[in-house]
């Protein structure tokens, strides 16, 4: 059974190293925000302080663990590749996802950068097809590189006729 050995090879390119910082910052911010929820009543409400402090500890601990583990893990998984015929990405950490879309079925190509991504000089490329399954997103690319990739994708897709459905 040769097919049993069939696997997906990882896409060629890793995302930018700075994405690790971006993910860390993002996770840290989320952790702080979530920790504050039980912490505030713990500070102002004497009788139940203990239990709220426990909740704070648990949420904070799990959050910090994720903040330490997740970015490195993501950096190992997140990869992307653009060939003449298709876009190929992998993403996720605990749950992982691989996406392939042929060039001929791409409808729109966007780049987007949130304030946090901008702070690290990063950018995301979003590739939309006609499917309701959601767009393919390559996040954490260097800003200049993202623009180049988007330009290249736009050029390639314009060369292919059809209404992409």
């Amino acid at each position: 059974m040769s097919t049993d050995a069939l696997r997906l090879r990882p896409p060629h390119h890793r995302v930018d190293r700075r994405a690790v910082l971006w993910w860390t910052t993002r996770s840290l911010a989320t952790t702080i925000a979530l920790t504050a929820v039980p912490l505030v009543p713990a500070l102002i409400w004497e009788p139940v302080r203990f239990w709220f402090l426990v909740a704070t500890g648990v949420i904070g601990g799990v959050g910090l663990l994720i903040t330490v583990v997740m970015p490195q893990w993501r950096y190992r998984v997140h990869r992307w590749e653009v060939t003449d015929t298709a876009v190929y990405t992998s993403s996720g950490w605990v749950w992982q996802e691989w996406r392939v879309a042929p060039m001929s079925r791409i409808q729109t190509v966007d780049t987007a950068r949130g304030p946090l991504q901008r702070a690290f000089g990063l950018s995301s490329v979003t590739v939309t097809t006609a499917s309701a399954a959601g767009p393919i997103e390559i996040s954490g690319l260097d800003h200049v590189l993202a623009t180049e990739v988007a330009d290249q994708l736009t050029d390639s897709t314009e060369a292919v006729p059809g209404d992409a459905t």
């Binding site: 696997r7 691989w98 079925r105 992409a164």
Partner: protein, 628 residues
């Protein structure tokens, strides 16, 4: 902002700016026209669409003199249809209110209610008149356009080649006026109004004409040709054109009650009543029983418990019977006069409905596959239903999409398979393709889940049994009081108190058995296969769906793996598509097996990204070096 937004890789793109320009140019003129010609708007579009009448209205220059199509309005009758419905609801209510208030000696209010409702009817009629005047639509050689909005003007335009489905619906209250609603599905977002254009209401003739014209791909005849349309509407009753794929067999209604909801409907009604009673703190039932002189709840409970062998089967039978009646009635309403035809141009047309008659047309090219839908109860009595996998039938979520995609009522499975084959119109039916099963590891995953469910059930049972053991008489009193406030006839707390503590493990054991049985059924349901033109997927236990999807309609792949799947060598392999729910998944397929299948289904798409087989070297060659 991004410089790459919305670049479409398609040819007609070039004329988009021109259209947009035309739109902004004509908008003010158009508003002016609507304002000035308002008085005559009511008679512009009678049931007989005459070109001079339509033409004379659009005297100002601009796109209106495009010979391809005149701006048409909705039927003036639609205002009367709406007014009648509102009046039919409001006036009787108002009369009743008048009488009641009069009896209650609130003469002032009694005198007010009728005029107030009349004023309200007048207001809605006036607003509806404004709406009627504002809405204009036309079908040109290339596109369908629609203007609407009383205060905020809206203009929407869709290329005709993007029209995927046309839905003509006529609920009974507008059908008596000879009207219908036309919904045009485009499979893409049009402005802010979602992916549909909706005309409420046009005459039945116009609806029929739009249905015929919009899906016709040869742009030789335009929609506005009046003589043409007259001919067509005359020819309308000749429904035998095209091939008939299916026609209602009244015996199929016997399958209608074969759902898990049959008991549920009766139970739902009872639960709603109980909920209502609980809301009133038990007062509602006490009032009724005092008025009717019923014996007390306790007496009734004793009566029921003393004849439990008689009462329980009777109650179940009653529930079943009411469920059957309601479901058959619903099926008759939905599927009466059901016909499914393929018209000469390939369009598949569905007609059905007793009170609301529906006519749905789907362009043949956009029908990318079918779903053989077999919910558990229907499956066990040998029935199935057919749904479409088509673009332009999207709902807000998957459930609405599949509701809109129904192409048949529940029917015998063999008939459903034959209908599916006829819809796909290939030499061999994709539904007959032998399906490959999924690895045993998929079964193990399902057993794990069933084990978790069983453990949870047992834990809960243990907890309850412990409570049962330590519960004292005062506990049971409290529980009994609560129950009495919720359910008028307290049956449960007494019997539970009398039952032994280990009794709690009985439902837990049943739950465990069902969970494992479900796991096996769910595993057996899994399957995937390939037809020369279609890929075939099957899954589901509660509702088993066999999906066929045209291989040419696959627009990408998505492979996901959870940690458990990675450990077991499994993956979810999904084909993404523009049709239907947008993604169809082979669940818990072996990774190599699933990838090989996906690779075979759409050659050359996945191949460059695979490794580990003899294709490897070849695949490496194909993959081009990275661009940046």
């Amino acid at each position: 902002m991004t410089p790459h937004e919305d670049r479409r890789p398609e040819g007609p793109h070039a004329d988009e700016p021109a259209i947009a320009g035309r739109h902004t140019e004509t908008s003010p003129a158009e508003e002016h026209r609507i304002a000035s010609s308002a008085p005559e708007a009511a008679h512009t579009d009678g049931p007989t669409p005459e070109p001079p009448a339509g033409g004379s209205e659009h005297t100002d220059p601009g796109p209106e003199d495009d010979p391809a199509g005149d701006w048409l309005g909705l039927s003036p009758l639609s205002v009367w249809a709406n007014t009648t419905v509102v009046a039919l609801c409001l006036v009787p209510t108002a009369i009743v209110a008048t009488v009641v208030l009069f009896i209650a000696d609130l003469t002032l209010w009694a005198g007010l209610s009728l005029p107030a409702s009349l004023a309200f009817i007048g207001l809605t009629t006036y607003l509806d008149l404004l709406r009627l005047r504002a809405v204009r639509y036309r079908v040109t050689v290339e596109r369908m356009e629609m203007r609407s909005g009383i205060i905020a003007k809206a203009y929407r335009s869709i290329p005709r080649e993007r029209v995927r489905s046309v839905d003509v619906a006529a609920p009974i209250y507008i059908r008596v006026f000879g009207l219908c609603t036309v919904t045009v599905g485009t499979g893409e977002k049009v402005g802010t109004g979602g992916d549909q254009l909706k005309l409420e209401f046009v005459t039945a003739d116009q609806g029929e004409r739009l249905r015929r014209e919009l899906l016709r791909r040869t742009p030789t005849t335009s929609a506005s040709g009046p003589t043409d349309s007259a001919e067509e509407t005359d020819a309308g009753p000749a429904e035998d054109e095209g091939t008939e794929l299916a026609r209602l067999n009244p015996r199929w209604f016997a399958y209608a009650p074969a759902t898990t909801a049959t008991f549920g409907i009766g139970l739902g009604v009872i639960a709603a009543l109980v909920g209502l009673n609980a809301q009133s703190g038990g007062y509602g039932w006490r009032w009724i029983s005092e008025q009717a002189g019923l014996p007390s709840g306790q007496q009734m409970a004793d009566f029921v418990l003393s004849r439990v062998l008689l009462v329980v089967p009777l109650a179940l039978f009653g529930l079943l019977l009411s469920g059957v009646v309601i479901l058959v009635a619903a099926a008759v309403e939905t599927w009466w006069d059901y016909r499914l035809t393929r018209e000469p141009d390939g369009t598949v047309r569905l007609r059905r409905g007793l009170l609301t008659s529906v006519s749905l047309s789907v362009e043949g090219r956009r029908l990318n596959g079918v779903v053989l839908h077999e919910p558990f109860v229907l499956r066990s009595v040998g029935g199935a239903a057919v749904q479409a996998v088509a673009t332009g039938l999207e709902g807000d979520d998957d459930k609405k999409t599949s509701a809109k995609s129904r192409l048949s009522p529940a029917m015998p499975r063999a008939r459903a398979r034959a209908l599916g084959a006829a819809l796909m119109a290939r030499e061999s039916s994709a539904l007959d393709v032998p399906l490959e099963g999924h690895p045993r590891a998929a079964l193990r995953r399902r057993f794990t889940r069933a084990g978790v469910v069983t453990l949870t059930g047992l834990t809960a049972a243990g907890g309850l049994a412990w409570l049962h053991g330590v519960a004292t008489g005062s506990w049971w009193e409290v529980v009994g009081t609560i129950e009495e406030n919720i359910i008028p006839v307290p049956l449960f707390s007494g019997s539970v108190e009398a039952a032994p503590g280990w009794g709690w493990f009985l439902p837990a054991a049943i739950l465990g058995v069902v969970a494992f049985w479900y796991a096996v059924g769910s595993y057996r349901g899994l399957g995937h296969g390939l037809h020369p033109d279609y890929l075939v997927l099957r899954k589901g236990m509660a509702a088993r769906d066999t999906v066929t999807l045209e291989r040419s309609a696959v627009i990408g792949w998505r492979i996901t793996r959870s940690p458990f799947q990675r450990r077991l060598g499994l993956a979810d392999v999904s084909a993404t598509t523009a049709a239907g729910t947008g993604m169809y998944t082979a669940v818990d397929v072996g990774l190599g097996q699933g990838l090989a299948w996906a690779d075979a289904a759409v050659p050359a798409l996945l191949a460059p990204f695979l490794e580990g087989s003899e294709d490897h070297a070849e695949a490496e060659e194909q993959s081009t070096p990275p661009a940046p």
